[in-house]
Amino acid sequence: MADLRVDLGKFSLKNPVMTASGTFGYGFEYAEFFPLDRLGAVVVKGITVRPVHGNPTPRVAEVSSGMLNAIGLQGPGVDKFLHDDHYMPFLKKSGATVIVNIWGKSVDEYREVAEKLEAEKDGITALEINISCPNVKEGGISFGTNAAKASELVAQVRAATSIPLITKLSPTVSNIGEFAKAVVDAGSDVISLINTIPSMAIDIETRRPKIANVTGGLSGPAIKPVAVRMVYEAAKAVKVPVIGMGGICNADDAVEFIIAGASAIAVGTAIFTNPMAPIEVIDGINSYLDRKKIASVKELCGTVDIRK
């Protein structure tokens, strides 16, 4: 039994496996599959200051080795999240380590969510700032692709809360390392990546986009090689821990991200295929470490061998 604990600076996790925001609801929905406290952390769907309807349907489409989504951050809003039985109160009871993904249409909205969470931060291990949601036109994309705006956003959220901050980066940038540096300089304790890649699919019979929102974010195995590259580049660029995600389906995929430089990883789209995937990934990482006689998952992080 290898040591699976990981250290993410201001906090640590019992193992490196989290769920990717938006693919695991609020935890509640998957609690009948496995105890939530087996996970490194539960990352909940993006929380906004007010309730959000989300986008019209169809919101998802299937593509080669992946899917597109434009859910549009439907959700209850932060107040309901904090107080309604099957959101935060349920998570607290479950014993899960909770990371709250937050999202807003403006710096103010982000700050407001952070303030409300700060006020009732008991049971919240970290906030993940989603600066990269490509689906909501009013701002998501501009924070995600403009390092100056992203820095300002992170600085404001930082000022609003003492909860450890993870900034989740968009893959739609030319130089992910620079971007990672910018948000770390602005006060982010950890960075996570990648979010989905803006994409499009068209029904050739109707000539309509397969997603009502026209474009949607690509996730799943199709994006894994892009994600591994970005995690590798980001981890080289910053000293803070990196959480990697994008197409992780099994322990081998997770190990690949860890070798590339991720301290922890998240399982997303694969949960739709196999709700037990996060647990199988935890067990599989352990087996890999045992087989390779590596005592702790920390030793594996960033060990990619690039000598020519």
Partner: protein, 261 residues
Amino acid sequence: MSHTGEILSNEVLKDKYCRAVFRAPEICEKAEPGHFVHVMIPSMRDRILRRPFSICHAGGSQLTIVYKVVGRGTEELSRLKPGEKCDFMGPLGVPFSLPVEDEIPVIVAGGYGAAATYMISERSKNKGYLLLGARTEKDLILTDNYKNNGFEVRVATEDGAVGTKGLVTVLVKELLEENKGKNLKFYGCGPHGMLLALGELLITNEIDGELSMDQMMCCGIGACFACVVKVKDNNPDGWRYARTCKEGPVFKASDVYYGRT
């Protein structure tokens, strides 16, 4: 919640419709009319999502689904042979409620909807009607099975080749006319447009009913918000998006939001 089902048989029912029978005792035990299963079709590999299918019949350990071949997933499903296995999640969703007392079940269905509602005809103590709408004769399925369960079957086809020419709502109107004062309990499953038309018709006639609203699904258990339809709500907009996999697929006709925004 996740079970492995071995295929016992998998055959063409009619034209593009197939019937697959699986050994899946745990699911059968809990299955009610309107429940669905979320199926991993092996051999897809480059397609990662499960496919949802209503439970058509659940007897002992044998689970039956009836599916129409419409794309990659259902095509590959149709090629599976007895002995091969699928992974199932289910039974999922909010089921139909069976008729009580003197309620006469009226099932209004289109396409595979006749399979999704079939267990009502098996389990209802009162006999009733199946009003089946289809584009052509080829989309009329299970009519004999319904008849064997004591249901009267009325049919409408868009091309008029069989039954009444036109939409199934014509049959609904006729039936309402014939059965004034009777305690009809409506069930609907079929294309979205048909269900909205049915729901509005029922509401106009001050009758409620239960509609099974099928949408593209990912998780199947309420976590991803892919599968929503509009339902009434007392927020300022008057509606909210409800997840058909968790809060549905069966909704009261009176809960569905018919506004066009």
